[in-house]
């Protein structure tokens, strides 16, 4: 029996759309199945969009424009004046740092240089589909290899505290290391920081956020030549000597030679009927989208910047422990970006995946805790709210050192031949980049030949 489709893609996420578009461009017969009636809009802080994807799909002609390479980091804490860190303006950053610590103003340049040098060397390995073997092998210099061996095993808190002294600065940077559900002292969290740096160099960080809300999804959808079917819920991934198709909720079965899923590894393996799905993590990234009334004016510092609510470094360890136990962390680590003047996207990297009281009951207190955390920096926010949407963390497979040191092939493949992953989990550090979709399309195309 010859399959009607070459590839089925489950979920019109950024990765799913990217994989479907790339495969359709190569001439494969692709069907994209989406559970909702319209493609979901990626939201939240975009760390980078894969530049090779932008080039391959010529996304620029569909209204996606890159305007800014650097997304400034604003650290908000008890001090009145926010601390502004910017890659493109090293002098201004050093001046801002000099106000709080001379030592850190001096250390900042070498710290950034070291971080990005390591990121530059490693991104060739991390972001290349053919990479394999040992990540350290890409580092020619023995000093860099030694440094890498230590960074692999280091917690981000120790990694940052080694070079920088102000807890406020350490905390602002620590925030980014925790995206994968790691504790600040866990091995792999320092590597997550380097991954973020590599990611930032690979794409144009922050560029998309400055475009209209929704332009990523629109451009990807416009660029997608694949057949799309909305309102199609997949209930089973059929297997016969590898992935052979899917069964839908309406009983329809669709045969294909390969399946790409933008669901999590756990969900995908469950659909494929694997007995023992991968263990899930207890801590994940939750998102809160706040819509604001017309008369609320956002502080100008948020323009083209991402703000981090800087807590004490110990508070991150506390928050991780609370989230692991299924409690709401207090204080709640938060970062936020403004997507236009009426929309704030808040990200809480340390949220419980399975809270004791269940997410239905926790959504309201969670949003309240987040808004409460911002009371000092955004006074008048509660009165200006017109809408609150909480997206609970997903039950992603456990991420850690092993995933960060895994080559692209390991991250994108499953235990079933012909079944690939292109969701956010195929990247160990959460980001909306579309790279996972490109890798999945690459491996699927190679298998089809």
């Amino acid at each position: 029996m010859s399959a009607r489709y070459d590839v089925l893609v489950i979920g019109a996420s950024v990765g799913g759309l990217a994989a479907a578009s790339l495969l359709a461009k190569r001439g494969a017969r692709v069907l994209l199945l989406e559970e909702l009636l319209a493609p979901p809009e990626p939201s939240g802080p975009l760390f980078a969009l894969d530049p090779l994807l932008v080039k391959a799909l010529q996304l620029e002609q569909y209204g996606l424009g890159f305007r800014r390479r650097d997304l400034k980091l604003v650290s908000w804490d008890e001090e009145d004046e926010p601390l502004l860190l910017s890659r493109d303006e090293p002098r201004a950053t050093a001046r801002a740092l000099a106000r709080i610590s001379r030592a850190d103003a001096h250390a900042w340049g070498p710290f950034q240089a070291g971080l990005f040098a390591q990121a530059r060397a490693l991104r060739r390995w991390w972001f290349h589909p053919h990479s394999g073997g040992d990540a350290a092998a890409v580092l020619a210099n023995p000093v860099a290899r030694g440094r890498f061996a230590r960074e692999c095993l280091m917690g981000a808190d120790a990694f940052l505290a080694r070079e920088l002294e102000t807890p406020r600065l350490v905390a602002a940077l620590l925030h980014d290391a925790l995206g994968g559900g790691l504790a600040p002292s866990e091995p792999g969290s320092a590597l997550a920081l380097i991954w973020r740096a590599a990611q930032e160099m690979a794409g144009q960080q922050g560029a998309v956020m400055l475009a209209q809300h929704g332009s990523v999804g629109m451009a990807l959808k416009a660029a997608c030549d694949a057949e799309l079917r909305f309102g199609a819920t997949v209930t089973e991934i059929m297997i016969s000597r590898g992935a052979a198709g899917v069964r839908l909720a309406d009983g329809d079965t669709i045969a294909a030679r390969a399946v790409i899923s933008s669901l999590t590894r756990v969900q995908t393996e469950k659909l494929a009927g694997l007995e023992r799905p991968a263990p899930t993590r207890a801590v994940g990234e939750a998102q809160i989208v706040l819509t604001l009334s017309e008369d609320f004016v956002l502080p100008p510092v948020l323009d083209g910047a991402r703000a981090v609510l800087a807590l004490a470094p110990e508070d991150y360890a506390d928050a991780h422990e609370a989230a692991r136990a299924g409690r709401l962390p207090s204080p709640l680590p938060l970062s936020l970006v403004a997507e236009g003047p009426r929309r704030l996207v808040l990200t809480a990297p340390l949220a419980p995946v399975a809270p004791q009281e269940g997410w239905a009951a926790l959504q309201a207190p969670f949003a309240a805790a987040a808004v409460h955390g911002l009371r000092r920096h955004l006074p008048g926010l509660p009165a200006a709210l017109t809408g609150v949407t909480v997206t609970p963390p997903k039950a992603l497979a456990r991420a850690g050192l092993v995933q960060l040191l895994a080559p692209a092939l390991t991250r994108a493949t499953t235990r079933v031949d012909g079944l690939y992953l292109c969701g956010e989990e195929a990247e160990p550090v959460p980001s909306v980049s579309g790279r996972a979709g490109r890798f999945a399309a690459y491996f699927a195309a190679r298998a089809l030949q």
């Binding site: 023995p142 290899r145 061996a149 230590r150 280091m154 792999g188 110990e314 422990e321 850690g400 050192l401």
Partner: protein, 471 residues
């Protein structure tokens, strides 16, 4: 396990170079490591002096009478077993016994790690000022060390693998979070041996007797104030009373922080090394309660009471935990010589006890509060009436043993600070050797760090005709 190394220890004495100084080697600290190093060097014919601040030898290997008739080892009841093949050399054959044998896998990895430490000590070090410590401290070892694949494992994840008893005793007295990946490496440093009779003091006494018999000189009540340098190398010690002592080489059994940040003028050390020593993280968080009881307790085996949900959070913020995790060990059940007939001694090892409290010093009231909280945790056991109790909190351990933060492991047992990344016996200061708990073998086996430092020193002496030529 290590016969080739031991053969080289006793190399011909006629090749000895004569050092025109008062002593060939001065050793700081008469703990197990200092005594082991002194014994080995004295046997090889060196003139050795051991300087100890306390009025007695042994370091943590002591037993004290905390109440008339009641004996206990104040700092620990157990020790990390040295490799069995080294026991005769240390004079400890038949003295110590395994009480909680670790899993075969852990034992094998530990054995390989210890073999690597001794192997490194016997390998001549590369030349070059400051190059050695930099290589050891900053770059690490290129070979994957035994256990690298465990860096991502948590104790909780290994529970089934390691057996019930292991992980709890491994944790006793440490503020490690067993659920976080990397915590599995704590099992490497698990204390799995105890002394059959007389507490840890027996071990200290045996090591002291052996060092003295080999011809080492022990000086008590002598605090070292500074390591003296001449032309970049260690050439002696300045003592607290103002006297100076010339020595061809110095072995420090203090931890990394105390050795480099406490015994040198900072201007004498390169900034990179100061930073590395400054960034070294101490763990700690151990307190000990010694209880003298009127009657034997109802339990006969060590008994672990898990901590409250908030214990580690309170520890991080410098708050005395309401419900600290604790291990209760009825030591006099196994060894009746520790308590008068019909009475008993129970020791409690508490974890997650802050070195510095947010509200000031460790006062008598706070110590009493700690005792009350620990006893409340044991209320289910119906302990017999308490006759006397001694409380040893982290600052007491720091004062008594000279270990920064009261950390018996010489540094936090995090993956980036374990084994491959711990400094070895050689330091970058020519003539200065590190044998303390911070050095590679420190937390792995009693006295092995001392043996490694002595082996490294003797290897260097035979490789380069004289350390004096460096100066």
């Amino acid at each position: 396990m290590f016969p080739p190394f031991l053969l080289r220890v006793f190399y011909p004495k006629d090749r000895r170079d004569s050092l025109s100084v008062q002593y060939d080697v001065a050793i700081i600290g008469a703990g197990a490591d200092g005594l082991a190093a002194a014994m080995l060097l004295a046997r090889a014919g060196r003139r050795v002096v051991v300087l100890e601040r306390a009025p007695h030898a042994g370091g943590r290997c002591v037993t004290s009478e905390f109440s008339p008739g009641f004996l206990a080892s104040p700092y620990a009841d157990t020790l990390a077993t040295p490799p069995p093949s080294l026991l005769p050399l240390l004079g400890l054959s038949g003295l110590i016994e395994d009480f909680a044998p670790v899993g075969a896998d852990i034992a094998r990895r530990r054995g390989r790690a210890l073999a690597r430490v001794l192997e490194a000590a016997l390998a001549p070090a590369p030349r070059g000022l400051w190059q050695r410590l930099k290589a050891q401290l900053l770059a690490g070892d290129a070979r994957p060390w035994p256990g690298a694949d465990w860096a991502d494992q948590s104790i909780a994840g290994l529970r089934a693998h390691a057996g019930q008893n292991d992980w709890r005793t491994a944790l006793a007295g440490r503020a490690t979070d067993p659920d976080l990946s990397g915590s599995a490496l704590t099992l490497f440093a698990a204390p799995q041996s105890r002394v059959s009779r007389g507490g840890l003091g027996t071990v200290g006494a045996a090591l002291q007797a052996r060092a003295l018999r080999a011809g080492a000189e022990l000086r008590f009540g002598q605090e070292v104030a500074e390591i003296l340098l001449a032309r970049g190398g260690a050439c002696g010690l300045a003592l607290g009373d103002g006297t100076r002592l010339e020595a061809g080489a110095v072995i420090s059994t203090l931890d990394l922080k105390r050795t480099f940040l406490g015994l040198f003028r900072w201007s004498d050390l390169p900034p990179a090394m100061l930073r590395a020593a400054g960034a070294w993280r101490m763990g700690g968080g151990r307190a000990r309660l010694l209880l003298a009881l009127e009657a034997p307790p109802s339990f006969t085996k060590p008994f672990f009471v898990p901590g409250g949900e908030d214990a580690r959070r309170q520890f991080r913020h410098g708050v005395l935990p309401d419900q600290p995790p604790l291990l209760a060990d009825p030591v006099s059940v196994r060894d009746p010589s520790l308590a008068p007939a019909g009475k008993a001694v129970v020791t409690l090892t508490l974890s997650a006890i802050p070195m510095r409290l947010f509200d000031g010093d460790w006062t008598q009231e706070k110590r009493e509060a700690l005792l009350a909280r620990a006893l409340a945790r044991l209320s289910c056991l119906n302990l017999p009436p308490l006759r006397a109790a001694a409380t040893i909190v982290p600052p007491d351990m720091e004062d008594a043993l000279g270990l920064t933060g009261g950390d018996l492991d010489g540094g936090e047992l995090a993956p980036d600070q374990m084994l491959g990344f711990r400094p070895g016996a050689r330091t970058n200061v020519p003539g200065l050797y590190l044998a303390g708990p911070s050095s590679a073998a420190g937390p792995l086996g009693l006295g092995v760090a001392g043996l490694a430092a002595a082996l490294a020193l003797m290897t260097d002496l035979s490789a380069q005709p004289s350390i004096e030529r460096v100066r």
